[in-house]
């Protein structure tokens, strides 16, 4: 019998969030949008967050160009599925994320490009959850990027195999907790 404990953090409310579209194109001239989300980080504790976005039932990849807190996590080269970060650089301060995204659907209406509103999820996660997600991103990348990020060329740039984090003493896997808030983004 093993006993594993983790603490579910208090949810952090989203203060403001919206999206704009279109706000750029990628190298294939496909239109990009931008999501913006703001929340206030509690000052008393070390906090960890995960932000992910969806359109319908599909994930959208968020590119947080130039965001200090997320760039400092050093995940961007590893094709993360979601943005996982700590409040180390903004403890107790308001936080704003601007991230571009590839819409999973869209079209034009009277010459105006449009896409369906994305849904954004902000999770306040435990430290164990944070460590698990960080190790998973590296672990998956160093396998050559399985799944929908599969890319053999990635093998040219990978490093040594990276073991998964576990809070199960003498075992593997994790027991972790999170509290989430989500919102469907209005267009601005």
């Amino acid at each position: 019998m093993r006993h594993i404990t983790d603490t579910v953090p208090v949810a952090v409310p989203i203060r403001d969030a919206w999206f704009s579209f279109p706000t750029g194109t990628d190298r294939n001239r496909e239109l990009l949008g931008t999501v913006v989300v703001r929340f206030d980080d509690p000052a008393a504790t070390a906090n960890y967050y995960e932000i992910s976005g969806y359109q319908e039932s599909q994930f959208i990849t968020l590119d947080p160009r130039g965001n200090a807190a997320i760039t400092a996590e050093d995940d961007s080269e590893l094709n993360p599925k979601s943005l996982v970060f700590s409040d180390k650089l903004f403890n107790g301060m308001p936080f704003e994320l601007r991230a571009s995204f590839h819409p999973t659907n869209g079209g034009t209406s009277n010459g105006v490009p449009f896409t369906r509103p994305p849904r954004l999820v902000l999770r306040a996660v435990s430290r164990a959850y944070y460590q698990y997600r960080k190790s998973w991103t590296r672990h998956l990348f160093n396998q050559g990027g399985k799944g929908d990020t599969y890319d053999l060329n990635q093998l040219l740039f990978l490093g040594d195999p990276s073991a998964m984090y576990s809070n199960v003493n003498g075992g593997y896997g994790v027991v972790v907790g999170y509290a989430s808030r989500s919102v469907t983004l209005p267009l601005r």
């Binding site: 039932s57 490093g159 990276s162």
Partner: protein
Amino acid sequence: MATASRNNWFLLLPAALCFIAPAARGQKAARVTVSGFVQDARTGEKLLGAAVYVAGGQTGTATNAAGFYSLTLAPQDSLTLTASYLGYQRATVTLAGRQTTAQSFALTADNQLQDVQVTGQVDAPLERRVEMSTLQIPVSQLRQLPALLGEPDVLRAFQLMPGVQSGREGSGALYVRGGSPDQNLTLLDDVPIYYVSHIGGFLSMFDANAISDVRLLKGGFPARYGGRLSSVLDVRLKEGNKQRLSGNAGLGVLATHFSLEGPLPNGKTTFLVSARRGNLDLFSRVASRLSSGGNSVVGYSFYDASLKVSHQLTARDQVFAAVYLGGDRLFLTQKPQTIANPKGDFRYQGESNLRYGNALGSVRWNRQFSPRLFGNVTLAATRFRYENGQSYHSEDDSPAQRSEDSEALFASGVQDVQVKADFDYYPSPAHQIRFGATAVHHVFTPGVNSFTTSSNTAAVDTAFGSRRVAAREGVVYAEDEIRLTTRLSANVGLRAVAYSVNGQTFGGVQPRVLATYLVGEHTALKASFSTMQQYLHLLSNNGAGLPTDLWVPATARIAPERARQVAVGVAHTVAAWGVEISVEAFQKSLRDLIEFREDATFYNSSQDWQDKVVTGGRGQVQGLELLVQKKTGRLTGWVGYTLARNERQFNQLNGGQWYPYKFDRRHDASVVLIYQLRPRITLSATWVYGTGNALTLAEANYNVVEQSYGQELPSNVAKDRYFYQEAELYGAKNSFRMRAYHRLDIGATFTKTVRHGERIWRVGAYNAYSRNNPYYIYYSLDAAQQKQLYQLSLFPILPAISYERSF
């Protein structure tokens, strides 16, 4: 003031030597001394390591790094001296032997004679040189070897020597006797240079057209060298042709180069200027524009450039000034774009740049203080800088008038200012004493992130990361090359270092001993012992690919790395065939190594770099090396073989158990052949074989939740709330071996005399039999959905052609 005095004590070391050393010239000469320089008759270029000996060959010396020699002998009626250098005709003079005399030699290169092949005997044979574990490849020979994509490479040629490995396919990095590339000290005209490769390691930063001499020491280190654990790569730039203006220009797949050298009208000054530019971005710019419809440009460019000026102040004084610049840039530029929108057009542009490179400047003063004392004083600055930045700008014409400007930059680097003084003192043929001192001021920037964002809704301006760290290093050394008997010679030295950082001072005395004992006429037994310390560390991402190197200092938490090496060997020359045979066995122990922690990330500079590494690592390397080298005749080249074992141990890795180093290679062999088919046609071939690299593989797997919707999406949208992926459970570190590596490269050089010079065509093929060498091994599913191991290979056969014109 007292504190400042204490902190700057190390600056006094070289200065003090400059005053003390010349006192040696005041000693009474009980014997006569012949001294001077040995140089190339056609260009005036000094020849380093040329032999100068008295008729009979029992007494002699070799020129130093400035081409200077000094022989002190008993007075005699006449004295016959011979100077020789591989690839040159010997020169012999007879002098009156009762007075101290200045005598320089100008040797004529064999290739300026009718018979172009390298002729003659080896006049400073291996067994008589008081050195071991030292490799030298003449630049002329290096330029005839088959080259990856037609570009001769200074470093890559050394990978073909025993005890030196290449690491991964295509990499130009040197793994010397089991050490990692950061344990190699690379000196360009006595000044350290931090990053030595272009294109992530595929090409060295040294343009072969600007190099006069290059040698690699992998053990038996004389006391004048230090600061790294595993090797010294000593590269010398040409001084410039003293006789006439000359140069060359070339065009290849990989690079375009140009060099020019010659004398200035005053007759006392020469110059060399060389520049090289990578060609890869010329192709990628066009391709990326076409593929993106002009939206963006992607490319990789590199360059290097050298300028060296030397001036003869007096018959005994010469000064040099040199500048070297080299750098790489990987870039992606999004051109200004406009998206038409009835609500207001949207405009944006962006740019990403990865840049890294070296800058180096030095001023040197060579002075012959007396016939027996030669001095070299160097003032230099060297810098390595690494930057990874992105910028983005957008604006629109909507009623909200939105705009955003953002910039992100990660910067790291190291810069040194150093002053050093080195002296060679020749009191008698039985002693050649070298001594000197160096003072270095290092400034490390382990990694700083800066971000600025301004928009009409928010503004951010922040910077964080590891602080700049200053360190001071003072070194004194002395070594004596002693001829104890006619058969026994030794080089005995001491190197003392004090290194101060953040109030912490590290220090130590590093003893060095090398002995050679002649057994018979052409055979010598050799042995060496050396200790080395390294006061800076390289944090490098574990994989291949983009260069991501951060240099950091040893600190109170991260101790200096240490090494101890013992080597024994036999050297034998078969004089009639011009063949040198060397067998060496070595044992090297490494201490206080560091490694990136497995879960650490590279750019994350919100975390102190000292928290990202595991420390206290140990290494053990044992090896046996065989080198058979033929330096003269129509057929030249060598056969090399290394049998080695290379292991590491960290308490925090692999359960604390010893494991094979990633590039542990039990067998490593190379064959290099250069054949002078006709006076103007040279054929060459190299074949290499190596045991496969070590690799960690998964032995089991389990399912993990890769992503979960939880309750955040309505159930009618999120049908499956959990997505699973396989996580792997790894076996022992580096316990799996890839398949063996082998490859044949072939090349041919066609030289033709044309008006005002020569033209040279080089053709060749890398991996001539297109071997699928393993680069990486990975699991994947086959058609039957069964998991299989697959191999990724990089380069099939790569033909190359290049053109060069000299004048």
